[in-house]
Each structure stands twice: as C-alpha cells, then as structure tokens.
C-alpha cells in the first residue's frame, strides 16, 4: 500500500535580505535562511508522524509546506499518489484541500473573534459546498442543515450543539482548541496537520485534547502530522518520530526505537534534557551550547559544534539521512560505528 503522504527532498528558503537600498549603501550581501533543507518522509494511512525539535528547527515550516500555505523552494509533496504542486494541478488542488486540514497552535489567534462558532466551523462546509446553501429551493432549510451539521461536529469534540450561537471569547483555551478541531474535521479530511496543538494549554486540558485527538483518529481513521517540541507528548501520540535540527531531519524511526535506542547524538541530548517527574534528584549530563544562528549554520553536520562525538569529518562533510539498522539517521559517528 502506498503511504498517504509522501514528502521528497522538501526545501524552503526564505529571503531575509535587508532592503535594496541598505544592501547597496552598506554593501550587504543578500541573505537566505534555509528553514527546511532536504526533508523526506512518508506517513502511512491512519498513522501519526511527529516532528520534534527546538524553536527555529523548521518543524512548523514543514507543516505549512504540506498544507500548501507555503510553496516549496525545492522538492515535492505527494498526497495519495497525487502531486500537490499548485502550478500543475490547480483544479485538483481544491479537492485535495478538502482532504487535508490544519490545526494551529494558538486557539486565541486562529479563531475570528467577530464570528460565531456557527460561522467558524461552518465556513469550510460552505466553502466546499458540502451543505447546500445557495440554491433557491434550499433557503432556510440550508441554514438549518448547516446548523445541524455544525452542532454534530461540536458534539464529536465534546462541546454542546447549543454552542453554535456563541462567540470564541465565551470559551476557555481548551474549548477553543476543540472548536479548531471541529473546524478541521468539517470537511471530513483524511489527513490533519497539527502544529503544536496543545502547547498553549494547561496539562489537564492538554490531556483532554490529546484524548479527543486519539479517539477521533481511531473512529475516523485519520492520519496525523503532529508537530511538537514536547517529547513526552510526542511519545504519547506518535507512531513514528522525526527529529529535526536546523532545517534537517537528523533521525527518523519508530517511536519505540527512537525513545528506547536513540541513535543520533542530538536525539540523545534532547531525551536527556527533559526533566522527568519520575526521576527526582537524578543528575543529568548538562547539555553544552545553544542552537546556532540559522543564517549562518555550521559547515558539515549542523550539530557538530555541540556534539561530543564530532571529529574532522563531521565539521566538513554533511551527513545524509541513511538507513542504519532499520532506522533513518544522519550521523557520521553512528554510521562509522564510533557510538
């Protein structure tokens, strides 16, 4: 069976140059950030792939590239065997959009404060013509059908059908995130891109949202791309995990493998850095250094200045993601058997 989502050599470069006049006067060169650099992965139907990494590693950019909010600089995304390239596939893209939806991080910014929940959740239904609103014969019945459909969606995420008449400010953060989920589910998508869906929420509310997302995945056979910086959350929701560092995928493997036997030194460092509630008083090996400036990334392996296993080769030659003992890892030291 072909995977639902296939991403090949996906790259996105942002131009962050100073304005033209400044460049001329101050003799500054053009500057580019390689936010995502040659990322490849695939997601099986009904599974969850999680991307983790620290701020600025490009995980949210990948999410936006997948749903088409950004156009890739290089590489391509295939959804159910079809390319999602806007230029060659303008007509088919509309159908594709219905099949993939996105949930954003901040439930305060992603819902229009002037719209009622009915309009917010109903918008994708109207936009894709899933509820017949326009034809003369439909009229009031169309509005009723829309209301019924939105009510149904709200029920499926644990809100009340009567909430359709309320505005976003009448809900708490967790409830708003449920509204976002209901909106994403409105078009009955197969694939949901979730960009830090619980990062803005308190832990007890986070647990509610994560449970709902898991229940929905089971009942509707959804496929998720789950972006998070929280490894504990990732461990809870994911089937496969990709670790990103400075725009590149450094390790990609099954959840059990990644958390049980992390291969890449960066993955090991991340796992070691999480404060764990079950290990009171345990001393940890402190992590050295910080994430380098993405404008001026290190040569070779981007992680080599912080890596305890780095040697001359690591600082010159960029490691590629290759299969090693059934795990995708981009590290010279692992491939040479040094660690």
């Amino acid at each position: 069976m072909t995977p639902l989502v296939q991403v090949r050599d996906l790259s996105k470069t942002f131009d962050v140059s100073a304005p033209w006049l400044n460049r001329v006067v101050e003799r500054k060169p053009r500057q580019f950030v390689h936010a995502v650099d040659g990322v490849s992965f695939s997601i099986e139907r009904g599974k969850t792939l999680a991307l983790v990494g620290e701020s600025g590693c490009g995980k949210s950019t990948v999410a936006r590239l997948l749903v088409g909010l950004y156009q890739p600089t290089r590489g391509d995304v295939q959804f159910d065997g079809q390319p999602t390239d806007a230029a060659q596939n303008a007509a088919g893209l509309r159908t594709l959009r219905r099949r993939m939806q996105m949930i954003f991080q901040d439930p305060y910014a992603s819902l229009n404060p002037r719209w009622k929940v009915l309009d917010i959740v109903g918008e994708p239904l109207r936009e894709h013509g899933l509820v017949n609103m326009s034809s003369a014969s439909a009229g009031a019945r169309g509005a009723d059908a829309l209301k019924a459909k939105v009510g149904e969606l709200l029920l499926s995420v644990g809100l009340a059908a009567a909430d359709v008449e309320k505005f976003p400010h009448q809900f708490s953060g967790g409830q708003r995130q449920r509204i976002s989920i209901a909106r994403a589910l409105a078009t009955q998508p197969e694939f949901l891109v979730c960009d830090e869906p619980t990062s803005a929420l308190d832990v007890s509310v986070q647990a509610q949202v994560l449970n709902i997302m898991k229940d929905l995945q089971r009942s509707r056979g959804l496929t998720y791309l789950f972006i998070s910086h929280n490894l504990a959350v990732v461990r809870h929701v994911a089937d496969q995990v990709g670790v990103m560092y400075l725009g590149r995928l450094v390790e990609l493997s099954d959840k059990a493998e990644l958390f049980g036997h992390p291969r890449h030194p960066y993955t090991r460092m991340l796992l070691d850095a999480i404060p764990d509630i079950h290990m009171s008083g345990r001393s940890r090996t402190p992590v050295q250094g910080e994430v380098p400036n993405p404008l001026n990334p290190p040569t070779g392996c981007a992680f080599h200045p912080r890596c305890p296993h780095a040697n001359a080769r690591c600082s010159q030659e960029r490691p590629v993601l290759t299969v090693f003992q059934g795990v995708h890892v981009a590290c010279h030291a692992v491939q040479e058997g040094r660690i």
Partner: protein, 326 residues
C-alpha cells in the same frame, strides 16, 4: 527545624472590579526554610504568579493584599511603604521573571544594569562593583564575561539573557529568590542548563528559592517541597517525592495522571473534565468539587482546611474522613 525564612500566613489578594470584588488568592499559607527550594505549581489562573508578586511587593493595581501577612526573617514585609520595600527588593529578595528580554533594559549594557544593582544595595566602590559583576557573569557560565559585560541585551541569546537575569537577581546576595517561570520561554536543552545553574548557584550562595512553574518535571528535578495551587487556594503541600508519587488530593492525582510520561505507555491520559472555575464563579465548599471524581455532599457545602495526610498536607475532606475512620 530552623526558623523559616519566609512565612506566608492566610494571604488574601483581591481585585476590586466593577462587577464586585474578585478573590484571587484565598487564605494561602506556607513557609520556606533558609536554603530551601519550594515549588509552586498550578494551572494558568491558579494564582501562582500572583503569590510571587505579592511576596516581592509588585502586585499590579487594582490588586491588593486584603488580609494575612508575609514575614521575611521574622519581619513583616506586606505592609511596608514603597521606599522601604524597594530596599528589600534586590537586597533581600531577588526576582527572576519568565521573559528575559522584558526584564532587562534594552538601552543599557548589562554591565551597567549589574553594577547599578550592586551599587544600590552594597557599600562598594564602582571598581569593586564591576569586578563583582564580571565574577557573577562568569559564575553563571557566560563565556568571555569581561568582554560581554559591555554588550547590550539584544546581543545575547535567550538562554544567555536568562543567565544575565539570574546574575542580576543574585547580585546583592539576597536570601530569597522568587523565580516566576524562569525556563518557560526557553527550549528544553537550554531549560536543562538554566535549571541546573539556578540550583547550583542558590546552593553556593545559600539562597532559598520560591520556584513558580507549571512544569511538574522542572519541579521534580529542582525542588525540596512543592505547593499545588488550585483556584487561588493551596490544594496540597509537602515534600516533592510524596506529592508526586503519593498525592492525597484528587486534584493532584488528576494533574499527575494528565501528564504524558516518558517511561510508561498509556493508551489514554487520565483527564480531569471541565476546567478551573473563573474567579467570579468559584463554587461553594471545596473549589474543586464540580470536577472531583470522589466528591461527597460535604464537599459542596463546607470548605476543607489543610489536613495532615501523612507527609503532605491536603485540603480535602477525604483526607479528614480517612483519619476519622482509621
């Protein structure tokens, strides 16, 4: 046990509004021993940052202390005039806030900010103050401290800025540090560095810490004792290991169960239904009763006080019942 460094007794903080007075902190009591690290944990709106603000005397108006007292080394500090409190702040109580960029002045070099703090509180010469500032920066692990001291905050990364803020908080050798979400704005790898730094420096300087955070992992790694706040009240307080592994209050149990753990696999997380009540709609009796899985009739009527529950103290009628039955 030695006399506590900080005593908070029946602290009440209220906000008068047009629609009536909101009680944001309701009868909060705890103390911190010299050199001890007390964690204060809770969800947003539980009142944890407000507790910190009340202690350092920086409550935002119209918020005001409506009752109770705060004592630092035996001296009452909750009713001091502004000027006197200013002298205590920095000298005896240091503060670290969540966002290192907003707690540093962007127009001054960090050296100027550090020496200003030192000169305000300690009887030293400008020359000594600068040396001291360099030494502090070195202690917090800032490389090339002697050069970097003349740089501005924007020339530092987030983690480095938070190190500067810690240096600033410790500059006048305070006995107590109030750290409000010091690592929340940082990435995990940097968070681990900052936490171990904070822990090490406070030990070396003999400072006690009140660490406000919503991250139980940080609490578990750092604190000696922890207070769990819910809707402006202390739900449970006790040694960190007992509160985390053998909680007595149903809220603490639910909170612990809702955290995805790194070392066990669960299909579903334990969830507490509903959300924390708003300040204008705190239920009668125990504030947690509408969400509590073990609620009893008494919980809806009478507010529980903190009962002894083995090593911890919990504000729950269940704890009281089990003692009566035993």
């Amino acid at each position: 046990m030695a006399a506590p460094l900080l005593e908070v007794k029946n602290l009440r903080v209220e906000f008068p509004t047009r629609h009536g007075t909101l009680l944001a902190l309701d009868d909060i009591s705890f103390d911190i021993a010299p050199g001890e690290i007390l964690g204060v944990v809770g969800e947003s709106g539980a009142g944890k940052s407000l507790t910190g603000a009340a202690i350092i005397g920086l409550l935002e108006p119209p918020g005001r202390i409506a009752g109770g007292e705060i004592r630092l080394a035996g001296q009452r500090i909750d009713n001091l005039p502004y000027e006197q409190m200013r002298k205590i702040r920095g000298r005896q109580i240091g503060a670290i806030f969540q966002d290192p960029l907003t707690s540093l002045n962007p127009l001054y070099t960090i050296g100027r900010q550090l020496t200003e703090t030192i000169l305000t509180h300690l009887p030293v010469s400008a020359e000594e103050a600068r040396q001291r500032a360099v030494r502090l920066l070195q202690e917090t692990g800032i490389p090339a401290a002697e050069q970097r001291i003349d740089q501005y905050p924007h020339q530092f990364s987030g983690g480095m800025r938070q190190r500067v803020v810690i240096a600033l908080a410790l500059a006048a050798e305070p006995k107590l540090l109030v750290a409000d979400e010091p690592t929340t704005a940082l990435d995990v790898s940097i968070q681990a560095q900052i936490i171990s730094l904070l822990k090490r420096l406070c030990k070396e300087h003999g400072a006690a810490v009140m660490l406000v955070t919503h991250d139980m992992g940080v609490i578990a790694e750092t604190c000696d004792r922890v207070a769990v706040l819910y809707a402006g009240r202390v739900a449970e307080i006790g040694p960190v290991g007992d509160v985390i592994h053998r909680p007595s209050h149903p809220y603490t149990t639910g909170l612990m169960g809702s955290i995805p753990a790194m070392d066990e696999d669960r299909e579903r997380l334990l969830q507490i239904d509903g959300s924390m009540p708003r300040l204008n709609a705190i239920p009668k009796g125990c504030a947690f009763n509408p969400r509590c899985p073990q609620v009893m009739p008494r919980c809806r009527e009478e507010r529980p006080e903190l009962f002894n529950a083995g090593p911890t103290r919990a504000a729950c009628w269940l704890v009281n019942e089990s003692k009566v039955n035993a």
